[in-house]
Symmetry: C2
DNA sequence: ATTATCCATACATATTATATATGCGACATG
DNA sequence: CATGTCGCATATATAATATGTATGGATAAT
């Protein structure tokens, strides 16, 4: 049994004539006659009633026709899907995002431009932390991860830079420096520093502490936040100050104010990671769009970068 | 693209090795290698990552595997169904029943024995009248019809006798003959005869009127009943008497009593009709069972014929 | 009666799948 | 480091299969 047999079967059934079906199929009548007969023999079932004027489905044939159509439909879907996958037009991308990355406007921007060129690709987003995302990549439970470098185990991963985001200082309402637009780290050396556990993002964590060191001060470590974005509520609660990626300024919580940091300021670096073996066209396309979107976004003015924010 | 390609595809994917898959498939390794490569070329997609130790699905291949399995599963179902149809073990029978036939205990008996030998065949029942059933057979909206002969247009139909059911007289509560177990038609010649329209069952209708004629009386036609079984409620309402198939004695409505008719008594003949071209094995099997069940049932005692009735 | 239509059969040819033999590269093992 | 083994790829030959061409037979239309 063969898909060709099924195609012949439904075509003959549809046209009620082997001759017509043959020309529809671009072949001659005798071979089609033979194929139909052979198919019947293989199945052990008489599919058509040969009449003087064409052929007519037997009851058994009529019962089998919908099933044959279903197989042909699936087969067609299979080929369409394969073509789409080859062209990077269909499929599914599981996108992993490091802590606080969803707040970055480039992400929706990139997703939007990707949907424009590949509307049939579905996306699933998941927020996690850099080490977990790298593990997810390795075990193929995520396709693309936006991480805060360095990645713990870069073997078999292909990592490329996305952008360097400035950081800002988050101060609670009523802090003595609330009116200062620009603050240096040594000015807040006496305030407890709210920071996330190092395991969730060793690179960014170290960058913050290094910046303190370069500023010549040692931070007093305050309450630990559950994630990167989780520092802001703790600042709002007056537990201390925090150094966060600038995109967190979109969180307007409890009167927290955000302030530019004078040099030396830490930077929140983001990179995109995929498996090295990964060669799904959609994945490459998405990464490409992600990178160009980030490049363009970095050139934009701060007002354009955060369109709905009062930064 | 071919079903064989799909089978090769999933087998190689399952075993992770072309060599293993080849022996699983009962073929040599080189042709399988070729077929896989050819399949990839036809699809324009790389399905496997050739490694030093076997092969591994690419992401695209992994995406396509479930679809390939689905097609193979459907194809398997197709063949199983075809075999079942050939053997008369699967399928669907649309059974049409003439008026009042559902009350005949042979019908459930036959259906039950049929389900014992062909449990995967589904049945749908429909009650109608003989001419409509024959039309339904002709237009293939019914597969088997139990009718009251003669059939109006026996061309292209194959009709065979099932049974001759005795008829009984139905009397309303309080009728002067209620206490008589056996009644002759001339004894009720003065009571209006409730009967169904001739169009709904010309054969049975004529048999009743002929019996009256043979008894030397002419019936007074009373209210017309909508169907054969519909006479009983009208009798209960006191509109007259009726002559009905004996199986209607199972309707215990409003004190109607049923009485054996002394000869000459009409008989309610039943026959089974199928299309002549009909050669679905399940249909033949069902008809065969129907006939044997009827033969056996006719030999049974009246008490056994109507087990749950007080006849 | 004659023609046209449509399916079946017979044979030849082209296409396709498979088998056999062999080569190449990568790992494992002594 | 050499050697053997494993696994996939290639090349060629052969077998299987599908298709094309020519033709016959049956039935309905003219």
């Amino acid at each position: 049994m063969n898909i060709r047999h099924l195609r012949y079967f439904v075509t003959v059934a549809d046209l009620g004539s082997i001759t017509r079906a043959a020309e529809e199929l671009g072949m001659e009548q005798p071979p089609l006659s033979q194929q139909i007969r052979q198919f019947e023999q293989k199945l052990g079932v008489k599919l058509f009633e040969r009449q003087t004027r064409g052929v007519k489905l037997t009851e058994i044939g009529a019962t089998l026709i919908p099933r044959a159509r279903a197989i042909l439909e699936l087969q067609h879907q299979f080929q369409v899907t394969a073509e789409g996958l080859a062209r990077g037009e269909v499929g599914h991308i599981r996108l992993g995002l490091a802590g606080a990355v969803p707040l970055l406007p480039v992400i929706p921007l990139a997703i939007r431009s990707f949907r424009d060129i590949a509307p049939d690709v579905t996306l699933s987003l998941e927020e996690s932390n850099t080490p977990a995302l790298c593990a997810a990549l390795h075990e193929s439970s995520t396709d693309i991860a936006i991480v805060r470098p360095p990645v713990p185990d870069p073997a078999r991963l292909s990592v490329s830079h996305l952008l360097d985001e400035p950081t800002v200082i988050a101060l609670p309402r009523g802090h003595r420096l609330t009116e200062e637009p620009v603050i240096s780290l040594d000015m807040v050396a006496d305030d407890p520093l709210i920071i996330f556990p190092r395991e969730l993002g060793p690179g960014f964590h170290d960058a913050i502490l290094s910046a303190y060191q370069l500023a010549g001060v040692t931070p007093i470590l305050g309450q630990q936040a559950p994630q990167i974005a989780g520092t802001v509520p703790l600042v709002a609660a007056g537990m201390g100050v925090s150094v966060v990626p600038r995109s967190l300024c979109q969180i307007h919580a409890g009167g927290v104010t955000f302030h530019t940091i004078s040099e030396p300021a830490p930077r929140a670096t983001l990179a995109v990671a995929i498996r090295s073996g990964q060669n799904m066209p959609i994945v490459s396309r998405f990464v490409k769009i992600l990178r160009t979107t980030c490049r363009e976004w970095e050139k934009m003015s701060p007002e354009a970068q955060f369109p709905a924010s009062g930064f």
